[in-house]
């Protein structure tokens, strides 16, 4: 990883987002964050403060780097060959790209829900118990407790409690996605990254997931990518608008949607983009 030295000084410098945020409430912070896939630059100098126990939505047209940005925080981009990162990304003030960071521990702290539901071809129980088992939980009753708690949190317990030992692949897309959310919650992460979690779902499942996000933010810091403006407006406290790898505007959600500062943001959210 090839990063220029970032000093405390330029960490505190003014950045694009006009949001004033109490340092103590900031969970994730990026400064001059750039990500390259080989020669293409997917993120350009992104500065963002993500607030603790709040929902931050990322919006922007396809290919603008939202997923790339999200995957910075659990270092999933590491697995793609030829990726390079510049700048700084911190969680609780700790540089997650410093060489002595344990990526495995980081990923247990930062859960992720993917755009396309991807349950393991295992039982519902084994799907949710996967993470806890990795953490060394072997006690059956303890596992059962975690699985139940996570499924309840993900608002799917009632639908699956009688079929915990049936394959998760038999569930509908919306149910699968909520099992995937339960699976991410089972390791008790502090941050939840959601990459278009409701993009393939019907309005009822979507509503359930939105409700769930609303409940989850009491405990978790949530970053969600969405293509659905109404969804962003409904679920998030802060919204960042990306365009071609740049963070164009970042502010409280109601301000982004009511009084956007940038013309491009306004065009995008009103659907007049392009």
């Amino acid at each position: 990883m090839n990063r220029p030295e970032t000093t405390e000084k330029n960490l505190k410098t003014e950045h694009k987002s006009g949001v004033e945020m109490d340092e103590a409430l900031v969970k994730i912070k990026t400064r001059a964050l750039s990500v390259y896939y080989g020669a293409t630059q997917a993120l350009k100098q992104v500065d963002m403060d993500i607030k603790k126990q709040a929902v931050t939505a990322l919006i922007g047209p396809s290919g603008c780097g939202k997923s790339t940005f999200l995957r910075v925080f659990n270092r999933m981009n590491d697995m793609i060959p030829d990726t390079r990162l510049e700048g700084k990304a911190t969680i609780d003030g700790i540089d997650i790209y410093s060489p002595n960071i344990n990526v495995v521990t980081l990923r247990r702290l930062v859960g992720m829900v993917f755009q396309k539901s991807n349950p393991f071809p295992k039982t519902i129980f084994d799907n949710v118990a996967y993470g806890p088992k990795l953490n060394g939980v072997t006690n059956r009753s303890q596992l059962e407790e975690i699985v139940e708690r996570s499924l309840i949190q993900a608002a799917i317990w009632d639908e699956v409690k009688d079929r915990l030992h049936r394959s998760a692949m038999e569930l509908s897309g919306g149910q699968q996605q909520r099992v995937c959310i339960a699976r991410a919650l089972a390791v008790s992460p502090e941050i939840l990254l959601m990459d278009e979690p409701a993009s393939a779902l019907d309005p009822i499942s979507t509503a359930k997931i939105e409700e769930l996000i609303h409940d989850l933010k009491k405990e978790y810091t949530i970053v969600i990518v969405t293509h659905n403006m109404q969804q962003a407006a409904r679920v998030s406290d802060y919204t960042g608008f990306f365009l071609l790898g740049e963070l164009i505007e970042f502010d409280k959600t109601e301000r982004i949607f009511e009084v956007p500062k940038d013309k491009r943001t306004e065009d995008y959210i009103t659907g007049r983009f392009g």
Binding site: R107, M112, F114, F120, P121, Y130, S167, C180, A184
Partner: protein, 343 residues
């Protein structure tokens, strides 16, 4: 009512520029467009039928082989009882008593056609060779699919495929002239040519098949599943053991079954290095004769349409059935995997 039903075929009734695009699209279709679509499909229809015909012809050939093989094989039972396939009571003139002989001895005053020694031979070669190929093949498949860099894979894969291309007579010759004696020294075996030497030779053939199939089935596991595992904080090996391999287990089993089928079918290597004495034994270091080697060894001098001739066809039919069942089994398992992974 009618007008509503075919509404989408008619030109738009409203000014299209002011209507949303989806609405425009559904109203854009017209009859002439539908007709051209149909003409285009005629070409597809021909190609489809040709492919179907090609498929049917290959099925026909298999069916013909099947019919021919079984027609000849069943002739055997005109003169011999099915019981003889297991063994035969023979009066031993020296010991002056009846003994149950489980032997294959087609050229004899009392011909004996027990399949037991041949089945023993086939399994004593195929089973160890499958076990060795599976252990190394699965390991190598995992390495190629999950661990090796693209560069390493680009070198290793063609090398392995080269192995699969070595004519079995060459492998047999190599085992016979180069490997057999050192192997005898290592294992202190009574016979220089034995089932184990054959199994090692057959491994050279079965191993690349298993590696290729294992690698393919691991690669068929969607990347999303690996990502899900990594995102939960699994290490690379935890991901392989807990996600990738279990997801591919059907493909891996099918690979082993197909490797086993290939090992059972191998003729030349077995004929050259196992000694060919048809014994009923469970000892891998014993000399054996397999079903395949038996046909190859005796087909040359068998009298046309004799009892012996039909007996060899019966051996062939047995081999055919075993491989056929194994292949179907593998196919079923592979299908289950495809369903499970929704591919």
């Amino acid at each position: 009512m009618m007008a509503q039903d075919i509404g989408w075929l008619k030109p738009p009734l409203v000014d299209s520029s002011s209507t949303p695009s989806i609405y425009r699209m559904t109203r854009r279709g017209n009859l002439s467009q539908l007709l051209t679509l149909k003409t285009f499909r005629a070409g597809e229809w021909i190609v489809e039928k040709l492919l179907a015909a090609a498929g049917m012809i290959s099925i026909l050939f298999i069916a013909l082989i099947f019919v021919f093989l079984f027609k000849e094989a069943l002739q055997f039972f005109k003169t011999v009882s099915p019981m003889d396939l297991i063994g035969k009571w023979v009066y031993d003139e020296y010991d002056e008593k009846w003994v149950f002989k489980t032997m294959w001895q087609a050229i004899s005053s009392v011909p004996k056609y027990s399949l037991l020694p041949l089945l023993c031979g086939s399994f004593l070669v195929a089973f160890p060779s499958t076990v060795i190929s599976a252990v190394f093949g699965i390991g190598c498949g995992i390495y190629l699919s999950e661990v090796a860099s693209d560069k390493t894979r680009e070198v290793l894969k063609p090398t392995l495929e080269l192995f699969a291309g070595i004519p079995s007579v060459v492998i047999g010759f190599f085992m016979l002239m180069v490997a057999a004696t050192p192997l005898q020294d290592i294992f202190h075996t009574k016979f220089r040519m034995n089932a184990f030497v054959g199994a090692l030779g057959v491994t050279i053939v079965a191993f690349p098949i298993i590696v290729t199939l294992v690698e393919d089935s691991l690669r068929a596991v969607p990347k999303a599943l690996r990502e899900a595992s990594y995102a939960l904080g699994a290490t690379r090996w935890q991901t392989i053991w807990r996600t990738t391999l279990p997801a591919a287990i059907s493909g891996v089993s099918a690979a082993c079954i197909l490797g086993f089928g290939r090992a059972l079918g191998e003729t030349m290597i077995v004929l050259m290095v196992t000694g060919n004495a048809a014994l009923v034994t469970g000892n891998v270091f014993s000399t054996v004769r397999s079903l395949t080697a038996n046909i190859a060894a005796e087909m040359g001098y068998v009298e046309h349409q004799s009892e012996h001739y039909y007996a060899l066809f019966l051996v062939g039919a047995v081999l055919f059935v075993i491989t056929f069942v194994l292949n179907i089994f593998a196919e079923i398992i592979l299908n289950r995997m495809r369903r499970k992974l929704r591919m």
